[in-house]
Symmetry: C2
Subunit: 355 residues, 2 copies
């Protein structure tokens, strides 16, 4: 598929994902992605116009926030809000506010994460903190969080502000667990899932519940959507985990081994160290290496070999497929139709993504 | 006055302030502080029990937040909420939630500020970031902010959540201006007041308005209280400015010249550089000095001499007195009584404080 130069970030993501699926012979999935795109193109355009309009002024704090937002991103979380809302009464004003809010909350966490992890690149470009400094990124994250909460307030969906605060609380708890474990070779799956559910899946759950709620769906439907969001979030994160080892950096915009170098245990590593304890000293050597530099080639090769021989990478992708399937199963109680099909398409396509 | 070993932070602050006033021959003010203390002692005890109860768990993120809260602080902002509420129907549950919220918002900003300013000490003790790291302090600030907003929600005072978000937005804007100007000898009074009103006075305004609102006062009374808060906040901050140069470090718990070394223009410096442009290269030398070290004695002496000869310190204290008087004038439309007297006492005592 040719991608127009004027394409919006989400249009590019959907088009690239369609190409990936076609390249893998998944022509039906590619066609369904194309349909999905046609169905929500106007909604995404509205959403991206809203995001482009957010303007705090010319200070380095507000420019830091703008810098990150202007890099685009996949906009998968707002897309979840839009699709959930369209299952009900449509992507109206309230849903649009929530779609903006979810992207701003996500962006706020990225700004703070980049300071915490000393991340230099984000979305294939210099991270805001490398241009405007750590201090500006800290306040920029605070600012985006406030803007997000104001958008939730404007949406006026009953109970949604409380749900937002509880979700952010859960995200911070997950960050706390991750921080405690940073730099430790920790094979504890409970810690791993605590972090994934809190850092990633909680916001997908919020997006699905919020979109459904703003679209006027009843509590039972919203709960089903929320469970869908949980599994979609885990599928999304486990694909990310795998891409840290076998992704194409030109496509992901992120150097390989970034998670590992930031001291984060990902699912493929958990599988690999359980099967091959000899990998532990190799990982420790990588963690002890100089910050900001890729690990030496022989160490990298040993990790990749261990991930292959232990089945760590394959099991990680199988876990992603399993959660995508569980996500789709959560949709069974919802009325059949274009909206439900679109969500199933998102779940299936998520495990195919290369970026 | 003897201070019991079991005294709460706010009890110590009020007792010390009373001693200061007595020492200066202000016996009437000291007696009024004593009365005020007796009047709100139970309320402060309740509030401090609420703050002590806040527990996020054992992670370094939550321990960072706990560390700062356990250092006490003056609790002047929650005291403002309590006094404003007592002008109306009393310090009930809603006002107590807002009193907790204002202290948590303030604490969240301190945690982020210490990371931004690389502050090593806070309240005479090691800053949380020096014990648990910058990353933990960033997330701890985020966590306290969420806890504060949840408390505001629980308070259930109509419009208060929106007002809280607008106030935090204003605080971040002031942080942004301060960050832009950091390390520059900027004599612009508009920038100075923008920062003081946003960083300090905005939260005092919020506390007074919120307390009045939770206490059931009408809009007119709440607006008067809000204006009182604005002037009290400016008086409070300008006293802080002066103490950075002439405070007793054993009492303030903060090294002298901290603001200057963090590249912040305070009011005494603005007056001094306008009168004595020869001070500018001296300040530039101090700013260019090694981080974390006090400026050499000869440079310090030149600054202190210039602050005295230019009248910078005296004008700063006069400004504080003026705003305390304006704060008291704002109370004229409120019903006379113990509540109004207590607020006037707070404003008068603020300019006497030594810590």
């Amino acid at each position: 598929m040719t991608i127009a130069a004027t394409a919006l970030p989400s249009e590019r993501v959907l088009a690239q994902l369609g190409d990936t699926c076609s390249g893998r012979g998944l022509h039906d999935l590619a066609a369904r992605l194309h349909d999905l795109h046609a169905w929500i193109a106007d909604d995404l355009r509205d959403l991206e116009a809203d995001l482009a309009r957010l303007d705090g002024g010319a200070s380095i704090v507000h420019r830091s926030a703008r810098h990150l937002l202007d890099l685009g991103g996949k906009h998968l979380r707002p897309m979840c809000v839009a699709l959930a809302a369209k299952l009900g009464g449509g992507f109206g004003d309230a849903a649009r506010e929530l779609a903006v809010a979810v992207e701003l909350i996500h962006s706020a966490t990225l700004l703070h994460d980049d300071v915490v992890d000393l991340g230099d690149t984000r979305r294939g470009a210099p991270a805001a903190r490398t241009i405007y400094g750590n201090a500006a990124s800290i306040f920029a994250g605070d600012w985006l969080l406030v803007q997000a909460l104001q958008a939730v307030q404007r949406a006026g969906v009953p109970g949604m502000l409380d749900r937002t605060l509880a979700t952010i609380d859960e995200m911070i708890r997950a960050e706390a667990v991750q921080l405690e474990n940073r730099g430790r070779i920790n094979g504890d799956r409970r810690d791993y899932f605590h972090v994934v559910e809190g850092k990633t899946a909680a916001l997908f759950r919020w997006a699905m519940f919020g979109g459904g709620s703003a679209g006027g769906l009843d509590d039972r439907a919203c709960s089903a959507l929320e469970r869908f969001g949980l599994h979609l979030g885990i599928a999304f994160q486990t694909v990310d985990d795998a891409l840290d080892f076998d992704g194409d950096t030109a496509v992901t915009g992120k150097a390989l081994f970034t998670d590992l170098r930031e001291g984060k245990m990902t699912y493929p590593l958990i599988v690999a160290v359980a099967r091959e304890p000899g990998l532990v000293p190799v990982l420790e050597q990588i963690l002890a290496g100089p910050e900001g530099e890729p690990p030496p080639e022989p160490l990298r090769r040993r990790v990749v070999d261990a991930l292959r021989s232990s089945g760590g990478l394959e099991q990680c992708r199988a876990l992603a497929r399993q959660h995508a399937a569980e996500a789709i199963a959560c949709l069974s109680s919802l009325p059949a139709g274009r909206g439900r099909d679109a969500l199933a398409t998102v779940a299936e396509a998520t495990v195919q993504r290369e970026s």
